[in-house]
């Protein structure tokens, strides 16, 4: 009986099957990815909060945002955070080149470098919070090798706090990008390298003339991922400084969270979210256009 069916068509046509397969995923995406974006638009024009009646307030939230010193500071800090992007690329490429060889124990080292990536930001924040306190190990080490004259309370000094957080973000992410670059390096055809070696290329030339150009699409991908991560940074700031001292480490994600879930000003928080979304969108479109020119595919 069943065997008589036309090959490829059971009870449903191919189109129906396709939509059936995608249904659960698309419903979830619609509900938790698209709906928040759509619904936060009308919300941004109201004074919706836990207390009082909700009413339409027009552009009040946006006017308030533009004169909100903390919000402006948080945007500045989020943009400043992007400084780590080039450092991430350089260090993780060097690490990838370092672990891209078949020597004894290399698997151990690769795993070791990846461990900060798999651990929770809460755990990492706790550890580095201790290491960076004024009587912490970091000060001790820096002072004993003579790089530092007096103790710095890295995370509560307003001059160093943001940089200290950036360092933690960088440290935790290196292994992740290293693995992507390593995948890239291993896709470099071996004949290419052998041929260059026969032609007498030095190690340095091998890296600058062959490895780096072939890594280009990976550099693009990693830049995109790390840029988005930097501009949205939340966890480490939330756990370690919650924006302080003052507003020196306040990032836009943290401020949006604070307005929403600590002040319960859902309307204002949504308006801030929209503004930040536009800023991020600007960067993404810029990168995607740049990408199209380069002709590489980030996914």
């Amino acid at each position: 009986m069943g065997k008589k069916r036309t090959v490829g068509f059971s009870r449903f046509s191919e189109v129906q099957t396709a939509w059936l397969f995608m249904a659960p995923g698309l419903v979830l995406l619609a509900l938790f990815t698209f709906w928040p974006i759509i619904f936060s638009v009308p919300l941004a024009f109201t004074n919706y909060s836990v207390i009082g009646e909700t009413s339409f307030v027009g552009l009040d939230n946006f006017k308030r945002a533009l004169s909100d010193v903390d919000f402006i500071a948080s945007i500045k800090n989020s943009l400043l955070y992007m400084i780590i992007v080039p450092f991430i690329q350089i260090i993780s490429i060097l690490m990838a080149i370092l672990v891209n060889r078949n020597i004894a124990g290399i698997k151990f080292f690769r795993a070791a470098y990846y461990i900060p990536v798999v651990t929770s930001m809460v755990a990492v924040a706790i550890i580095w919070g201790w290491l960076m306190s004024s009587n912490g190990v970091l000060n001790y080490l820096l002072m004993s090798i003579g790089l530092l004259d007096e103790k710095i309370n890295w995370l509560s000094d307003k001059d160093t706090a943001l940089w200290a957080l950036m360092f933690i973000t960088l440290w935790k992410g290196l292994g992740y990008y290293m693995m992507i670059y390593l995948a890239g390096l291993q896709s470099v055809p071996n004949d290419c390298i052998e041929a260059a070696k026969i032609d007498g290329a030095s190690n340095f030339q091998l890296i600058t003339r062959i490895t780096i150009p072939l890594l280009k699409p990976y550099v693009f991908l990693c830049t995109l991922i790390s840029l988005m991560a930097a501009i949205r940074v939340f966890d480490e700031v939330f756990v370690l400084t919650s924006g302080g001292p003052g507003n020196t480490t306040l990032t836009s994600s943290v401020y949006i969270y604070q307005q929403g879930f600590e002040q319960f000003e859902f309307g204002y928080s949504s308006a801030l979210g929209l503004i930040v979304s536009f800023i991020i969108m600007f960067f993404s479109i810029f990168i995607f256009l740049f990408n199209r020119k380069g002709g590489v595919n980030p996914y």
Binding site: F32, P36, L274, I280, M281
Partner: protein
């Protein structure tokens, strides 16, 4: 001539290992120090000069924090959340990815466009609206409410799609010849072929769910917290008791490190498959 070459090789190998070890200390050092703190109850970590290596070993911190914090409960919460998150994430993402890789159907490009646009649109403001959604679904203080919003990520869908596209078409055809339904082909023929991709998505989702702390704090009451949320709570409540916090942190970190070490061999394969595009 030959000897100098050999000597050169040994020296360069030596330098490589020195560099590898320096980086290893940089990346692993903080964790090793954490373990050493957790094993020295009563030791003040803020003494100057600080104790870096353990001078004695005592598991008292582990016993105390285990008893006081009811750690088993938090571990259980985390296990349920992670299990739900990983299983359904793999299931729904792979289901969504399959038609995008195999079929040509009307609306395929539209779905694609929607998926790509989520990569451009940031979810900065999503937290508030998602809270309201979960609330109106009556899912506050449930584990379902914790995992639901992040079950399907576009990244996972693309990774699976890439993997499905790498499977030769004869395999699906042979399934069809045997009269298997599309779902059976997917479940019994295709899914076993993309194990590396499943391992990568599994690891990423394991990480994301095991380590998530903010959304659970928003959605759940304290007694339902997973480990990471409980840890940030512990850190706020007992910030003076370093030993306990260190022990708690070690307990929360070990399982995920083990999972990583077990999935590691698939990991490179999966990553390179995902990136090539």
């Amino acid at each position: 001539m030959k000897n100098t070459n050999k000597a050169k090789k040994i020296i360069s190998k030596f330098f490589v290992y020195v560099l590898l070890i320096i980086f290893a200390i940089f990346m692993m050092g903080p964790f090793l120090w954490l373990i050493s703190v957790s094993l020295m109850p009563g030791k003040n970590i803020f003494a100057f000069p600080p104790a870096i290596l353990p001078t004695f070993i005592d598991f008292r911190n582990y016993l105390e924090v285990w008893e006081y914090m009811d750690f088993l409960k938090y571990i259980w919460n985390t296990v349920i959340i992670t299990f739900l998150g990983v299983t359904f994430s793999i299931l729904f993402s792979a289901l969504t990815a399959y038609p995008l890789a195999i079929f040509k159907f009307k609306g395929r490009n539209l779905v694609f466009l929607l998926l790509v646009s989520t990569m451009i649109i940031p979810a900065a403001a999503g937290l508030v609206v998602n809270y309201l959604t979960i609330n109106s679904m009556g899912l506050i203080n449930t584990f379902t409410g914790v995992v639901l919003p992040t079950l399907v990520s576009v990244f996972n869908v693309f990774l699976f799609r890439q993997a499905f596209m790498g499977i030769p078409t004869d395999i699906r055809d042979s399934g069809k010849m045997d009269g298997a339904s599309e779902f059976r082909i997917w479940a019994q023929l295709m899914m076993p072929m993309i194990k590396p991709a499943v391992a990568v998505v599994g690891l990423f989702e394991f990480m994301a769910n095991w380590n998530s702390f903010l959304w659970p704090i928003i959605v759940l009451n304290t007694e339902k917290y997973p480990l990471a949320s409980a840890l940030s709570f512990l850190n706020g409540q007992f910030s003076y008791n370093f030993g306990w916090i260190a022990a708690g942190t070690v307990i929360s970190v070990l399982p995920i490190i083990f999972v990583f070490l077990f999935t590691q061999k698939y990991y490179m394969e999966g990553i390179s498959g995902a990136v090539k595009g």
